[in-house]
Amino acid sequence: MTNDAPPRWDRMMQQRLARGEAAALGELYDRFASLVHSLAHRVLDDDAAADRITREVFGYVWENPDAYDPKQGSLRSWIAKITHRHSVRRLRQDETRGEGTPEEIEEKVREASAAARADYIVTSMPAPLRAALELAYFRRLDYRQAAADLGVTEDEARRRLRLGLQLLSTAHHSSRSTPPPGYGRAL
């Protein structure tokens, strides 16, 4: 679900790309291609378009490794941001070609933005929460099995799953037309 890499890896990768090391480009692709492709695919819902975005994004990163500022966040989140930007631009180009009404395009952009925020939230949430979600969602364990796997109580496993989803649900907020109910408030 995520590609955790220590900041040191990010900085080393940036240096290697900057000095034109083709092997580093291959490693970068191996680590992030599925991220880039899946983010692009979620926005554009088309394999060929996602392929094109993947080519553009890696091309941009390879040509502009210095545009990455490690102080601003991880290499992963930078690449996700570039992908989102390219994908949304592409979506708007579809609009100018008449492929969808402006309303449909804006709805897609909103969904894409929520998905991008969700991706960011998942990767930046505390590791214990992410681990619990990963066990329950991707490995399909129930919370008791997840608790055993994580070595925590069942209460704690339930707590982590709920908190993890609560954090994730904030990705929807700014993409809704009406403000969401505040946390813990009645409807």
């Binding site: 679900m1 995520t2 000095r19 034109g20 090391e21 083709a22 092997a23 480009l25 291959g26 692709y29 191996d30 291609a33 599925s34 991220l35 492709h37 899946s38 979620r42 394999d47 392929d51 993947t54 890696f58 390879w62 040509e63 998905a115 991706d119 505390p126 214990p128 979600l133 329950a136 969602y137 991707f138 490995r139 129930d142 919370y143 997840a146 925590v152 209460d155 704690e156 496993a157 339930r158 707590r159 982590r160 799953l161 709920r162 908190l163 993890g164 989803l165 609560q166 954090l167 994730l168 649900s169 904030t170 929807h172 969401p180 109910p181 505040g182 946390y183 813990g184 009645a186 409807l187």
Partner: protein, 487 residues
């Protein structure tokens, strides 16, 4: 190079194990069941909650008591902060006694329990697990009954179910394996590499990336899928049973010979002098959990194998052209580094195919340019392998002496299809020159079929070859091709 190749890189060597023990040792399947792999949604072990329903009955209480909906003080073992819920973090309730407090201390406990024996507190705590379909059937029913009565929980339930929709399996995406080369080519066209990957290392780069993509798509249980490794030895087929994880261990351990020759860390401590087979057996014996395909160790192994591959590519990129001729020792023979990378690319593809067969995934052959290089390596190794078999009495005798570098009896190997071409194999000595003029036999074979033969995956007698000319020469060359295989 034939002179120093000895038995050839795909030649079987004297492994210390018995081929008949396929069902035991590290190859034996791990029958341990931890109960994790059988659970699929909807199989009855985990109820699938329906969409949350809006509350049908107006809730009797307005549920402003956030503390009640958030009943668990952060435990010491859980560093997860509650910073996303600032209003709650400031609540004095969080400092209240832990949940063990008697129910009567909770003002809401005085109301009759809405349904079932579980309290509102517990049901609320189940919402995350419920949204993820990660609680028992009984709990699911109780939560859903509760949602019809509690507006606050119903609102949260909808929100959490929506959030689940935002989770997505980034890693399971089925990327077109050929996209990698297109993307990298596109990049290098825009900005040429100052430190390129040597072209003889490109097939290894591509094949390792393809295998890694296959591994990424696999489920955990598939690490233990049984794989039968097959090769040709002496007069007939040999096999060794292992798991998918065992195969990756094998690849990593033999790649380790190349790593050691470049001064990188050997993944098999103290094993640097062994043959590929001896090293593999030593690794399987030392890492039984990996050999059995336990998911945790297998995932670490995948990372270790991949990291080593990246290090190899990086190292030869910096070493430059001069490194291409360095010797890599395989125990009883050596190969120059550039051929060693081709050999590793070939094995990576062949074993990726073995794994794909074992887990029933499709797997394509390499690109035709890479396939051509692999076929070329095998063709160059054939005269040496033939001489080796001749010395062992497994091939017909040479027809008289041949001067070093002089043309001698030749077999014309015509490879058709992807990666194909014409190769002229010297029959009587590795030192002789194969030439069209001296051809005594002609064999035509599909490229992938020839590779399957050289990998020991089809018997020489069964290689679907168009044949013409000296039957004995053809037979000897097909058997020599099969004998290039090893574990």
């Amino acid at each position: 190079m034939n002179e120093r190749c000895g038995p050839g890189p795909w030649e079987p060597d004297d492994g210390p194990w018995d081929h008949d023990q396929g069902g035991t040792g590290p190859g034996a399947r791990d029958s341990r069941s931890d109960g994790r792999d059988g659970g699929t949604p909807g199989d009855g072990t985990r109820a699938s909650p329906g969409p949350a329903q809006p509350p049908r009955i107006p809730t009797p209480r307005a549920a402003p008591e956030d503390g009640d909906r958030w009943p668990y003080p952060t435990q010491p073992s859980a560093p997860a902060p509650d910073t996303m819920r600032p209003q709650q973090a400031q609540e004095p309730h969080a400092q209240k006694p832990p949940p063990q407090e008697p129910p009567s201390a909770d003002p809401r406990a005085e109301a009759p329990a809405p349904s079932g024996p579980r309290s509102h507190k517990v049901l609320t705590s189940l919402l995350g697990a419920w949204a993820l379909s990660a609680c028992s059937a009984e709990e699911t029913l109780e939560v859903e009954a509760h949602l019809t009565e509690c507006a606050a929980c119903a609102e949260e339930a909808v929100r959490l179910r929506d959030a689940v929709g935002l989770l997505h399996p980034e890693e399971n995406l089925d990327l077109d394996p050929m996209l990698r080369s297109r993307v990298l080519e596109g990049c290098l066209g825009r900005r040429p590499a100052r430190i390129p990957v040597p072209d003889w290392a490109a097939p290894y780069d591509a094949e390792a990336a393809r295998l890694d993509a296959l591994l990424r798509d696999m489920g955990e249980a598939e690490w233990r899928a049984p794989v039968s490794l097959r090769w040709f030895e002496g007069r007939g087929a040999a096999r060794r049973d292992t798991t998918v994880a065992g195969v990756i261990g094998h690849l990593m351990t033999v790649d380790g010979l190349v790593a050691a020759s470049l001064g990188l860390a050997d993944p098999l401590p103290g094993g640097e002098e062994g043959s590929p087979t001896a090293r593999t057996e030593a690794y399987w014996a030392a890492e039984p959990a990996v050999a059995a395909g336990e998911p945790g160790p297998a995932a670490e192994l995948r990372t270790a194998w991949r990291d080593q591959g990246h290090s190899l590519l990086r190292t030869v990129s910096f070493a430059g052209r001069g490194a291409a001729g360095l010797d890599v020792s395989y125990g009883r023979f050596t190969l120059p580094l550039r051929d060693s990378f081709l050999d590793r690319a070939f094995e990576c593809w062949v074993h990726a195919g073995d794994i794909a067969d074992a887990v029933d995934y499709p797997y394509d052959p390499p690109s035709s340019a890479h396939l051509n290089r692999m076929i070329d390596l095998a063709a160059r190794l054939l005269p040496g392998a033939l001489a080796q078999r001749r010395r062992a009495g497994l091939a017909s005798p040479a027809r008289g002496p041949v001067l070093v570098g002089a043309p001698g009896r030749t077999l014309h190997l015509e490879i058709e299809g992807s990666g194909g071409g014409d190769w002229y194999i010297a029959l009587d000595s590795p030192a002789a020159l194969g030439t069209p003029a001296e051809s005594v036999a002609h064999v035509a074979l599909d490229g992938v079929e020839f590779c399957r033969l050289a990998a020991g995956h089809i018997a020489p007698e069964e290689a679907a070859a168009g044949q013409d000319g000296d039957r004995e020469a053809i037979r000897d060359v097909l058997f020599a091709a099969a004998s290039l295989s090893r574990l």
